[in-house]
């Protein structure tokens, strides 16, 4: 690298500039490795250690793993996380899809509605959760105003209801985002497909099922992947809204990890939960991207 080749005539060639380009990746790489990748390794190390967050870290062997994996609270967290993941996808996908198709229309009123649908995205998760605490209050919230008895529930105190309340609040917060994805997806569908369908005599419902839905295949996969992997990180809103309670009713995996580590001061077991979270996250991402990659092979616009 340091020797500069001379041309045959002996005159020095123009000095080639040092290859700077690869070095430009270094700052980003350093920040990313130090603050994201190394902590990941740190979680694995700490999962075999005993630490209360303040004093000396001591070796604990496999003790954390056996205690966490035999703890019914862990399995409860697993079941809750799975449940919230599944129900969220099932609830949010059709709503976002239909709203996306609806707002893709160019009618003036639909454009106005799309502007309003977006507003929940402006609030932080903490703000959403705090607001819904007030809204769901059985005595002073919206239920009291509407005077409907079945709305006067102790939404956040009833362990049978609270998980569905959390699912609703999360849907309220995230459906607008997925609506945007579907809106963009619908607007990419070539209008020639609809023209052809119209000529073939397809009505609105048939057009939806035979043109729109198949054309949205990739968007459905993308949005679904984001919902699934996102549901592993439902923390902020749930933490502020319920704190994982009542009892263990909304103690999802990330909450279980936080509460074990920073409230019960058991960083070792909490790190075990962190490692589990990473493994589940990577496994889901891997499976889903295989699926997505497969879907991408066949273009949406095949034969257009």
């Amino acid at each position: 690298m340091t020797t500069i080749p001379a041309s045959r005539s002996g005159a020095p060639l123009r000095r080639p500039r040092p290859a700077l380009a690869p070095l430009l990746a270094v700052p980003a790489l350093v920040m990313y490795v130090v603050f994201a990748i190394l902590p990941l390794g740190g979680a694995v190390v700490l999962s075999f250690a005993q630490w209360d967050g303040l004093s000396q870290i001591t070796w604990a062997g496999l003790g954390n793993w056996t205690s966490v994996l035999s703890d019914p609270v862990t399995w409860n967290a697993f079941v809750l996380t799975g449940k919230i993941m599944l129900v969220s996808v099932v609830v949010q996908t059709p709503i976002s899809l239909l709203l996306g198709v609806f707002t893709a229309g160019r009618q003036r009123y639909r454009e106005v509605l799309a502007v309003l649908y977006f507003v929940p995205l402006l609030l932080s998760s903490a703000a959403v959760a705090i607001a819904f605490k007030a809204i769901l209050d059985p005595n002073f919230g919206v239920a009291a105003a509407l005077g409907l008895p079945f709305l006067k529930q102790d939404w956040l105190g009833n362990p049978d209801l609270v998980l569905y309340v959390v699912i609703f609040v999360i849907a309220w917060q995230f459906v607008p985002f997925h609506t945007l994805l579907y809106q963009a997806g619908v607007r990419q569908i070539p209008s020639s497909l609809y023209e052809a369908a119209t000529i073939d005599g397809a009505g609105r419902v048939q057009q939806f099922f035979y043109v729109t839905l198949p054309q949205l295949r990739n968007t459905i996969v993308t949005s679904g992947t984001l919902m699934v992997t996102g549901s592993l990180t439902y923390f902020d809103a749930v933490f502020v809204l319920t704190g994982g309670g009542p009892g263990y009713a909304t103690r999802l995996l990330p909450l279980d990890m936080y509460l074990t580590g920073f409230t019960a001061n058991q960083m070792g077991p909490a790190s075990v939960l962190a490692v589990i979270l990473v493994v589940v996250g990577l496994a889901l991402a891997f499976v889903l991207t295989k699926f997505t990659g497969f879907a991408r092979m066949q273009s949406d616009q095949e034969g257009v």
């Binding site: 430009l24 920040m31 902590p39 740190g42 700490l46 962190a274 979270l277 891997f286």
Partner: protein
């Protein structure tokens, strides 16, 4: 993506508009009803937040929660402002701006390296960035807490900025690299012939051309840092280091019974983003769906 719809021949464009107008003659009642039901679901909570924040505390307990207050008051907002709202706002701005500026600057360099070279080092760092997209932030907080305490950055704004950068970098690099890839190679080559080095090309070619992508990704990163709750929760403690979401949470803990006050804090903390939405809706929308709406 949307370009394909607009680049059609004028004849086709006219045909499209005609088919749209025939669709308009048969209104989609079912769709409209559904659309307005969802509007109610979105708007009623927001309406409740806003009108309640304008209520006196006595009014909160006595009147119907959905009726507008008879004598609206800004007292709740005054209470929030007196509780150091300005300080928290400044903290949030500092953390967000610092994180976004450093993230975008570093990520642009990395994206340039990824697009312009094909060495093994750069390629493997690209796969490492890809991996970062799948790692849940939450899983790293315990070692991060240990590390930040060790380097004496616990309870400081810098301690919030550094991990925020680390976690924003992968997606930022990927979005910028995708964009830089579309810049014609000839532009780089002709600059190289003129004797420009990588740094020159990065600053005077890649940077200006990538401006739309930079705006988009900066908004995406900025919203995430601005609304972030987990890092401040774990890495800060004292009141003078609070950012807005944290301040909101502690305010709610202190003024538990003063619901109008708490909701005024919610409104005030959302106001900056709301203003941004009003003036730059297009950018905000593109920023939010950055990298996903392909």
């Amino acid at each position: 993506m949307t370009a394909s719809a607009t680049t059609g021949s004028p004849v086709r464009a006219r045909a499209t508009s005609r088919s749209r107008s025939t669709a308009r003659t048969r209104p989609n009642w079912l769709g409209a009803i559904g659309g307005f039901v969802w509007l109610a679901i979105i708007i009623v909570p927001i309406y409740y937040i806003v009108i309640t924040s304008l209520r006196s505390q006595a009014g909160f307990f006595s009147t119907n929660p959905l009726f507008p207050p008879l004598s609206p008051t800004l007292a709740n907002y005054a209470l929030v402002v007196q509780n150091d709202f300005g300080l928290y706002l400044v903290n949030s701005v500092i953390v967000t701006v610092a994180s976004v500026v450093v993230t975008v600057a570093f990520a642009l360099g990395a994206a340039y390296a990824i697009v312009r070279t094909r060495g093994r080092f750069v390629r493997s760092s690209f796969s490492l960035f890809l991996l970062g997209l799948a790692v849940p932030t939450h899983a790293t907080i315990i070692p991060l807490y240990w590390f930040i305490t060790r380097v004496h950055l616990y309870d400081s704004l810098a301690g919030l900025v550094l991990p925020s950068i680390g976690f924003a970098i992968p997606i930022t690099v990927l979005i910028l690299a995708n964009f830089l890839r579309d810049i014609p190679k000839e532009l780089f080559e002709s600059m190289r012939v003129d004797g420009a080095g990588d740094l020159r090309m990065l600053v005077s070619l890649a940077l200006p051309l990538a401006r739309p992508a930079i705006v988009t990704v900066a908004i995406y990163d900025g919203l995430h840092v601005w609304n972030g709750f987990l890092f401040p929760l774990i890495l800060t403690q004292s009141p003078d280091k609070r950012v807005l979401p944290m301040a909101l949470w502690t305010f709610q803990g202190e003024y538990n019974v003063n619901v109008p006050g708490v909701l005024a804090a919610v409104v005030l903390s959302t106001l900056p983003i709301f203003v941004a939405y009003v003036f730059g809706r297009r950018y905000l929308v593109s920023g939010l769906t950055a990298g996903f709406s392909k």
